[in-house]
Each structure stands twice: as C-alpha cells, then as structure tokens.
C-alpha cells in the first residue's frame, strides 16, 4: 500500500490531496479515543473515489478532514500542496468556499427557500452580483435537470430532486473537489442510480474530483478508486478498471 502511494506520487503530478501519517484523537487522557491511527492516502485530481468501511472505521473522520471541516491531531494533510493543519478556522472556510462542494446524506437544503436561492447561496458568500448568481445558479440547476423547478421549495420537491438541488449547490462554484457523504443513503435504488450517474457525469465532463462515502457496493461501483477503511486505518485500495482513468 505504501509502495503504491509512493509510486503514485512519483508518477503523476502532485496529487490534489495527500495524507501522511494522519491521526485524529478525540478527548483527552483516559477517555481519549483515537479515530485515525496514521492514515496515508493520495488522491489524484479528477479521480472518483469511494470511501468504504464499517461504522467507526474512521471514514467519516477522514471525510470531515478532507472537507477541511476538521484538522488532524498529528501527521500531514496537504490540499493542493497547502498544509491544512496550519490554517485557522476562517482560512479553512475560505478554502472550502473556493475549492470544495458538499453533498450530504440528508440533503441539507434551507427550508422555505427556493431551489434557485439554495443553489445561489455559495455564490452569495463569494460576493457574486445578482445577475451572475442567477446565471450560474440556473446553469447548475440545468446541469442536474431541474431548471424548470427553480422556484420550488424543498418541501415541494421529492427526495431525489432535493439531492439534485444539493448537487447543483455543490457544483455552482465549479469546485475542484466534491465531497459526498452517503449521497444516496436516503433514496430508493432507482433514484440512487440517477444520482450516481449524475456524479459520474460531473466527474467525467467537468473534471471534478469526487470523494464519496458509501457503504453500498452498488454505488461504490461507479467510482474508479475504492478506499476501504478499518479500525482507523486504510485497509486496502482497489481500482475499478471498468471506470476510465481521469483525463
């Protein structure tokens, strides 16, 4: 595994994400709990990665860290060659704003807010003007096939549609990395496949690196790289040859 990581580093350009000996400990003293025990992981730009593992294996902790929502206790996490552990809260927020998009299991749309307003939200924080917000927002909704539903609130949309709005919100800023935390966890299998096809398409056509946590092998099959976690460590990494290599 270490050899593969080293090999990847020497062959490709610098990976967009590089973890080295990352540990994460919650609490202190006798009650301390080590969630990550030294994770090494490289993720190449444009890859589609599925993170799998039983609960408590450290996959969620890793995703929080990769999403720059949390910092490692020890080790090194380079994002685009920047040591994230050295950034403060606001600097990480700015990094998320610029490079990351999030899709959650529970959709997490703002209630009583139209689809378009939800999608425009990240642009608001980027300080885009009203016209740009509207154009980019509509374009993102169009990409997920919901342009006609722009003025509907989450309550008026089905689960699959809500998740597509959430994806539109995540990609409206053209992020480098899209992090999806069990994006199909609340959907039936038919909707799940639609969502996965959408994510694959975005990965392929828009060259967005996708990191997805899932425990459904059917969904993981859409990814090119499968990272299995166990007991706070990366257990093994597989490559799904059916998915073409990133351009």
């Amino acid at each position: 595994m270490a050899a593969r990581v080293a090999g990847a580093a020497s062959v490709a350009d610098d990976p967009i994400i590089r973890l080295r000996g990352v540990t994460k400990t919650y609490g202190e003293g006798a009650t301390a709990f080590q969630a990550l025990k030294g994770v090494d992981l490289d993720i190449a730009e444009g890859d589609f990665v599925a993170v799998m593992g039983p609960s408590g294996s450290g996959k969620s902790t890793t995703m929080n860290m990769l999403g720059c929502l949390d910092v490692p206790t020890g080790g090194s996490f380079l994002f685009k060659n920047v040591e994230v552990g050295h950034l403060d809260r606001d600097q990480r927020a700015l990094l998320r704003r610029k490079y990351l998009g999030f899709v959650f299991q529970g959709f997490n749309l703002l209630s009583r807010t139209t689809a378009l307003e939800n999608v425009e939200l990240p642009l608001l924080y980027r300080g885009e003007d009203k016209k740009t917000r509207h154009e980019l927002g509509m374009a993102a909704l169009d990409k997920v096939g919901l342009a006609e539903w722009w003025d509907h609130t989450p309550a008026e949309l089905s689960g699959g549609q809500q998740q597509r709005v959430a994806i539109a919100r995540a990609i409206v800023t053209s992020p480098a990395v899209l992090l999806a935390d069990e994006p199909t966890g609340n959907l039936d299998s038919e909707r799940s496949v639609e969502i996965m096809e959408l994510l694959s398409g975005l990965n392929r056509d828009s060259n967005i690196t996708v990191l997805m946590v899932t425990h459904e092998p059917d969904m993981a099959a859409f990814a090119r790289t499968l990272v299995h976690f166990k007991d706070g460590l990366v257990e093994r990494i597989e490559t799904n040859q059916k998915v073409p290599e990133p351009a």
Binding site: N64, T113, P122, L124, Y125
Partner: protein, 402 residues
Amino acid sequence: MLGTTFLLAIRSIRRHMLRSFLTILGIVIGVAAVVSMVTLGKATTQAAADQVASLGTNILQVRPGQGFGRGGGGPRPPDFEIADIDAVRQQVAGVTAVAPQAQSTATVIYNGTNWSTTINGTTNAFFEVQPWELTSGRTFTPAEEAAGRAVCIIGNTVQQNLFRGGDAVGQRIRLNDISCDVIGTLATRGQAGFGGDQDDTVIMPINTVQRRLTGNRDIRLMLVGFDSAYDPAVVQSSLTDLLRERRRIQAGAEDNFNIFDTAQITQTLTGVTTLLTSIVTAVAAISLVVGGIGIMNIMLVSVTERTREIGIRLAIGAVAREVLMQFLVEAIVLSMLGGLVGLLLAQIVIAVLTPLMQVPFIFDAQINVIAFAISAVIGVVFGFFPARRAASLNPIDALRHE
C-alpha cells in the same frame, strides 16, 4: 458583503413572519409607550401652561389671608377696600390696571330657565388686566359703574344655558330679585384646570354687586396687571410694601394677604407635569429593555433551531464573521422594524388620546428619533450574544444537529 448580509437577514425575517412579529412585539410596545408618554406629557404640560396663560400673563392675584388659606386661630384679616385699589393703581410703579372683585352666587332666570352661577362684581379694569374678548355688546359705561346700575355681561356657559346660544344682548334677566340688562357676552375661555369653569359667570359693576347682592363693601380679590417691562419680583415687592403700610402691619409681623403670580403658577404646574412625565417615561423605558431581552431570547432560540442551517453555511464557506454579521444584522433589522412600527403605533395612540385628554396634538421629532435610535442600539446589544453563539458553532456538530 454588507448588502449580502442585509439580504440574508431580510430573507430570513420574511420566511418566518410570525416569529419575527412576536420577536419585535416587545420593542413595538416599548417604543410606542415611550414616544406616546413623552409626547402626551409634553402636550399636557403645554395645555396646562396655555390654561394658566389664558388667565393672563403679568397678572398678580392679591387676596386677604395668611399663607395658603387663612391660617389657624387669629382674627380674619380685613378685606380690601376701593381705596386700596386706587392706591395700588397710582402708587406702584409698573401697574397698568387694577380690577377689584367682589363675588357672590345667585340664581339667574330668563324665560323660565334657571341657572345658578357666580356673580363677579368688578370694573372695566377687569378687561384691561386680562385678555378676555366680548363676542357681542359692550363693557360698562362710567355712569353705570358709578351709579351701580343693574347691567351685566354674561359668560359663555351662562349664555348657553339661558339663551341656548341665542342672542342675549338687549335681553333682561332676573338675578335673585334684581332685574338686569344684558349688555355683553364673553368669549369662551374653557376649563381653568384648577379653578373650574371660567365661563360660568356673570360680570356686573362692583357697586351693584356690593349694594344689592353682598350687602357689604368688602373686596376679596384684586387683579393687578403690570407692564411686562417691569420685573414681576420688583412689582410684587413694592405692592407688598404698599399693602403692609396701608394695612398697618408691624415690622416683623407676617403679611395678612397673599400675592400669586400667574407665571409662578405656570412654573409650578409645568414642574409637576414634567416630573410625572419623567416617571411614566422611565417605566416605559423599562418595557423597552424588556423588549430587547425578548429579542435576545427569540434570537437564541432561533440560533438553536437553525443550527443545521448555520452548519450548511459554514460548510459552504461562510467565515465566522459572516455568520455573526448575519444574525447581528437580523437582530438589528428586527429591532429597527419594531422601532418603526412602534413609532407608527405611538402616533395612533397620541391621535386617539389627545382629544380625550383635551390636550393639543403635537409631533415631537426629537423623541421619535431618539426612540428609533434606541431600538437600533437594543438590536446591537441584545443581538450580539446570540450572533456570537451562532458564529462559534463547530460546522461538523452543527451539520449533525437534529
């Protein structure tokens, strides 16, 4: 960025109309209470001052007696005489007119209608001392005054009750057993606040009243008008000296007469209403603070309720300051909104109450501006704590929040 924050705040307020309304209710009531109390207090003060001024400014009222009332025990001090009136008129510098007053009550009858009223015996000087217009007719002639003829000038209340507002001049009324010609009618003067209805009176020459009604030559009150160029204190002191001399009061002994300056009464009255206004305003101001605490409570609940929303915003890339600003601006916008609604409510309250309280309607720009500014400050003060709590949330925990 501020525009964006403002937009976010407005959106959030619009999406939760009921909650927003309940939030601002305290501020609305507080601002309305403060503004209406201060304004009504000022109106009352002005009304009181106006009423006293209607008695005439630059007037001293002189009555026999010691201190307020007649004091205990001693013999009743003598009333004034006509000679005192003339002496004051001629010997006190600055005095322009002196009107004696001899009072009695009588039942006046016209055409079978009875009315019980106050009879004021005086001279034409009465109309020089104070501004009191005649609506029709004339004042007394010197002959009428000297001879003590049965002529009278009636107040508006008497005119309304006896003549039903009809023409009274030239009519003859009965006054106890005197038959009396009405030669003039007076303009209305209204309630004196403390002196009852000033219009419920009949004015007659003092000689007539003394001879045919009171049966003595005593004068219980003199109204001394003086030139406004003179210092009231100086006029008052030379008047005191003259009266002490005429009434043979020993040096060191107390005056056996009282002098009231209407300006002084105004001041006292204004002082009282101003004090009352301050007290009521202080109570109202407390309600404003309570309103601010209401905003803080709702905002704190709102932060808890919207924890997930805050998590989303943080994940998307909002920095702590932006979340803080959003909630702070929301609180400020809410409280300013409450302030505005409160100002409107206050104007309605004032418009409704001023006619009932018989005080003039006034718009006090200053208190409106102050109350609005305070409502904005309350938004900042009471909005800061909830906003800081929102901004300090951990995005991971906030996103997991149910």
